[in-house]
Amino acid sequence: MTLDPAVEAPAPKQKARVKTPAARPARVVWRRRRGRPLLNLAAALIVTAAVLYAAFLPAGPLPALGPAFNPTTGAWTMAADAQVTDRTLRLPGLQQPVRVVLESNGTAHVVAQTDHDLFLATGYVHARFRLFQMDLMRRQGEGRLSEVFGKAALDTDRFELQLGLLRTAQLEWSQLPVGDPSHAALLAYAQGVNDRIAEAESTHQLDAMFTLVGYQPKQWTPIDTLVIKGDMTQTLSFDDTPILVALINKSLGADLTSEWFPVLPPNRQSPYDPGPYPKAATAPIETMRAVSDAEAQSAAAAYEVLESLPKGLLKTEGASNNWAVAPSKSTSGGALLAGDPHLDLTLPSIWFQLTQDSPNFHVAGVSIPGTPGVLIGHNQHIAWSLTDAMNQQTFFYLEKQDAAHPNQYFWNGAWQTYKKVEYDIPVAGGATQHLTVKLSVHGPVIADRGLTTSVWWGGNLPSQDLGVLLRVTQATDWKEFRDALRDWHSPTHNFVYSDDRGNIGLISAGYFPQIAKGRPGLPMAGTGESDVTGTIPYDAIPQSYDPPSGFLWSANQWQVTPDYPYYLGTANFYDPGYRANEIHRVLSAPGKLSAADMAALQTDTRDFLASEIVPVLLQSLSSDQLNPTESAARDMLASWDYRMEINSAAASVWWTFWQSYLGETFDPWWKSRAVKVKRADVNAMLGQDLEFWTLTDPVNRAFSAPGVGSRAASDAERTAFHKAVSTLRTSLGSSPRSWTWGRMHARELTNLALVSDLSYGPRAERGDGNTPLAAGGRISTAGPSWRMVVDWGAGTFQGIYPGGQSENPASGWYTNLVETWWDGRLDPMLSADQAAATSGVATWKLQQ
C-alpha cells in the first residue's frame, strides 16, 4: 500500500506556496491544493472500508479476519485448548461431584456418584474434545449444513430433510416415556454438552473451526443426539441397490440381471447360523421382470439424486469383523472376543474412548460423540462388538398417480393424499431455500421424474435404541443381553458376545422387513400389495449361542444357509464373504487361540479370493505363450502366499489381474448394452459371479459378450493377465519384482472438515477389500475404525482406534493413536482406578 504523498509529507501551506512556480496558473495550483486532501481522504476511505470489511465480515471462503485471527479470542486459542491439565470445574446441573481421569493417551474415565451425573459429565467430556464434530453430525442429519457452508451443501440438506432423520428423531423423543432411563440420560447428556458450550463461549475456547467458519453452536437437545443415531443408521443401512438393479435390468434385460444379481449368493459363504431353522410360510420372492421405460426413467432420477450425495452418506459395501472363541479353543481357558467395525476413517474419528462408572453402569469401550452410551465394549461380566447385518432395509415404491387426482396416490384401493412437510433451508451467503417434502404411506418421495418414487427405510421406524444400548451395557449374561436387543430396530447388527463364565453368542438383532409379495430387489408397485408387512420373529432371526464348534464369527456375510425360510435381501446387499471365509479358515484350524492370535487375525492380509482364483489362473497360463516379464509375474504368483503385504509384488499382480478380469468379462456387456450404472458400483456382486463361474461354470455365457466371440473363462483369464502385466509395466516399470503392493496401495485418514493438510496419509498400506484387514481401493479411506480384543481368561481388555481423542489439530491427541493402530498393536483398556495410577494423567474435578 502506498500512502498519498500529501499524507506522507504534508507540507505547510506557506511553504508550498513558495515552491510553486510563478509561471503556473493560479487556478491549477488551487485545484491541486484542494484536490490532494480529497484524493487522500478518498484513498483512506477506500482502504479503511476494505480493511474493516475484511476484519468484520466474511468474504467468500475467508472468515471475518478480526474475530478469526485475533490472538485472544480467535483461532489461536486452539493452542490453549490443546493443553489438558488438572482442573476443578463448576458444571450447572450436577448432583454430586464427578471425577474425570484423562490418561496420557487421552482416554477418558468418568466416575460419577449418580447415573444422571455420569451422562452429564459424558456430555461435557464429549463436547470438550469433539464439539465441532458433534455439531457437523447433527447439522448433517437435520439438513442444516448449508446454513454454515453455503449452497455447496444444499443437495445433502435437501436429501436429509426428504429422508427424514429429523422427523424420526422428533417422533422418537415425543414417544419416549418420561420415566424411561434413556429419557433422563438424554436430558443429562444435553445439559453436559450445553455446560461446555457455555464455558467455551465465556472463556473464548470454542473449537477454532467455529471461529474460522464464523458461527456459534446452538444449544444441544436430546433430538440432536437422536439425529446422530440416525446419521449412523443411514450410513449403515440406506441402500440404493434396487435403483441400480432397475437401471441395469433396463439395459441388460431381466434374464441376465436375474442371473447376475440373484437373491441368494452364488459363491461359497460361511454362515454362522447353520440352522436348524423354524418352519415358516413366507411370501415367495417373484422372479425378475422386465423394467419399463417409465420405471427406468424414475430409477434414473433417483440414481441422480443419490449419486450427487457425498461419499460415506449412504451404505456402500459392508466391512466389519467380529468373532468369539469359547474356552475350549482358548489358551487362557476363558472366552475370547474380537471386534473391528469398519467405517470411514476420519480425523477426528467417529469414536471416543471412555469408561463410565456410576451406581448402575460400569462400562468401558467406545462411544459416538453426541450420544451418551458406549456402543462397543465390555462391562464387568460381558463384552460385545458388532458388524453390519446387511439385510435389506431400503425398499423403493413406485406410486400410482393420475392427473385427475392431483397430489394423490393410489393405495389399498383408494386415492390417498400425500402428506406434505415444509422446510426452510438457510443458506450462508445466499437466499433461504424452501423445500416441500411429500410423504406417502411408504415414506418420503425422493424422485418425481417418470414415475414417482418413494422409499420405505428401516431407519425411519421410531426406535428406542439408546434404551436398548443402556440395557446392553448393564447386562450380566446372555439372557439379559439377548432380551435387551429384542427392541433394537435399525441398523440391523450382528452382535457378538462373550462373558466371564465362558459363554459366547452371536445374534443379528434388528428389523428384518418382510413383504407380502413382489421383487424387493427392484422398485415395487406402491399400490399396497408389496408393502412391508412386518419383521421376522425375534426367535427366528439369525443367532447362535455356545455352538459345538467353539467359535462364532461375522463379517457382513450371509448369516444363514439357503434353507433359511425368511427373506433377508438379495445377494448384492451382502458382502461377498471373503473376509468371513478367511476368519472361519483361521478359527477352524486345529489348536488353541490366544488374544495375540485374535489381534493377528484382525490384521490378517490373506486374500481368500486370491487363494481360490490364482491356482486356476496358473493352470490357464500353463498353456499360454508368455514373454519374460509375464513369466516373471506368473512365477511370483506361483510362489505367493496370498498375503497383500506392502512388499509383495505378487499382490500387485493379483489385484491388477482381478480388476482386469472383471473388465474383460463385463465391460463388453456394459458397452454394448449401454448400461448407465457405473460398473464399479456393482463390482462386489459381479465379482461373486465371476468367482463362481471361474470355479464351477467356466463356459458361462457371460464370457462371450457381444463383440468378443465365443470364449471360456480361461480365455478371459489369459487376456486379462496379459493386460494386467502390461498395465503394471507401464505404471511401475519393467522389473516385476519392483511392483510392490505398497507402490500401488495406500490408506488415508481424512480430515472431517476436508482440510487435506490435516488428513493423515496417504501412506502405503497392506491388505485389500477382501482381507480381514480391510483396505479396499487404491487409496483406502475406510477400514477398521476400532479394534478390541477381550480375553476373559487372562482378564485383559485391549483396544485402539486410528486417530486421537481430540478434534483440535494442534493437540497432541489429534493423531497420537495412529501409529499403534497402524502397526496392529493394541492399548490396554484400563479401569478408572488403573488409569489414575499411571503417569501423565490429568484429573478434572467437576462440581455443582
Binding site: 476484519a55 485471527f69 490472538p71 483461532a75 489461536w76 482440510v755
Partner: protein, 119 residues
C-alpha cells in the same frame, strides 16, 4: 512529554482492549492518534505500531504459555498453505497493524479537509 503520555496511553489501551477480546481496539486508538497527534506521518505510524503491538504481545503471551508451533501449522493447513506456520502469524500481525494504521490515516485525511483556525 504530552506526546509520550499520549503514545503510552494509546498503546496500553490498545493492548488491554485486545486482551479483553475487543480485537478492534487498535482501530479506535488509531482514530484517537489521528485526532490528537497533529503530524499525519507520526499519527499514522503510531496507529500502525499500536495495532502491531496490540496483536503481537498477546500472541507472544500465548507462545510463551502454550507454544504456538502446532497451532500455526494447523491454521496454515486450514487456510490452504500447507504447514507454513509463518503465514498465519504474518497475516495476524498484518490485520492488527492495518486496523491501527487505517484508523489514524482516515482521521488524518478527514482532518486535512477541515480549515485551520487562523491566529
Amino acid at each position: 512529554m504530552r506526546l509520550l503520555v499520549t503514545i503510552v496511553t494509546g498503546l496500553v489501551v490498545a493492548i488491554a482492549g485486545v486482551l479483553l477480546g475487543a480485537w478492534w481496539t487498535p482501530f479506535v486508538i488509531g482514530v484517537a492518534f489521528g485526532l490528537v497527534v497533529t503530524r499525519p506521518v507520526v499519527s499514522i505510524g503510531l496507529g500502525a505500531a499500536a495495532g502491531f503491538l496490540a496483536w503481537l504481545l498477546p500472541l507472544l503471551g500465548e507462545e510463551v504459555r502454550y507454544g504456538l508451533g502446532p497451532t500455526a501449522a494447523s491454521l496454515a493447513a486450514i487456510m490452504g498453505f500447507g504447514h507454513e506456520g509463518a503465514i498465519p502469524v504474518v497475516l495476524t500481525l498484518l490485520v492488527g497493524t492495518l486496523l491501527g494504521l487505517t484508523g489514524a490515516w482516515l482521521t488524518c485525511a478527514a482532518r486535512s479537509l477541515v480549515p485551520r483556525k487562523s491566529g
